[in-house]
Amino acid sequence: MSEGELKGLTKTKAGEAKAQSQVRVLYGVHSLEATLAGRTVADVRQALRQALNISPQAVAILDGLEVEESAILVAGQQLEFVRLAGEKG
């Protein structure tokens, strides 16, 4: 196996490992995937609060079920902070 092939394989393996620890996070129109497995919902809310302007009132749901802030994320899950509904019309 050439050095180039080895590098490519290492890169792929590293990519797979990263993908295996990724969690999808949604808030309103925003979505991102990040290496968050093992973190709590509260950790993620705090980390993204300013960047996404997440409301403290936003309910956290993990794979469609409402969860406590202490819930620990598992790779492959989807965490959504439910953006408050638009009020006017």
Partner: protein, 238 residues
Amino acid sequence: MMPDRLDITLIGIGGIGCALAPFLARYLQSERQVTTEDVRITLVDGDDFESKNAARQSFETLGNKAKVKASELARNFPGLSLRAVPEFVTPANLPHLVKPGDLVFLAVDNHATRGMISRHCEGLSDVVLISGGNDLTDGNVQVYVRRDGRDITLPLTRFHPEIADPKDKSPAEMSCEELAVASAPQLLFMNLSVASAMLNAFYAWRAGRLSYGEAYVDIMEGRVQPVARAPRHGESGR
């Protein structure tokens, strides 16, 4: 297979409702040429159109919004059956306005009314409730579908404490002074985006391909994000 009769109720003829109504009517009239479906549209709003609303709302004359808009639509789309209910929604008139089998477009400007109507729909065997709301440059659409007495998607109140336990009041509960207070600024383009998203959800439902229960819209980001809102194992799905 769609029913032979479709009763559609549009509640709230403000910025979103004004943007939605003519396109809904045009679509339904054109559909009538290829189906035998009997469509009846009921417009509900207790508010009067005033010239100060003209930046976002289109009415040919001053007067009650439901009556004026129903009259306009009846003239432009003679193949449709239209009626107006010039009232705000209250617990007393709600059972007469939203009945089993109805399809409801909810385009009001307060969470109190959204919560009241969603809870009412939870008690109906079959209903489709498509609700839209916006702030200045973003908003959302929620689609609550019940079929054969079970939730297919989740009620508007689920995951939305601001609707389940609203801090605002419905217009029927407000004093004249409260009604006169200027509300938060809105943008016509945002009303239009939410109206369009509501009609898109309607079309997807009619096509049997509705795959989401909520969609977020942000015109500054140029994005729409649909999200599933299905009852999960262990939830009532009543």
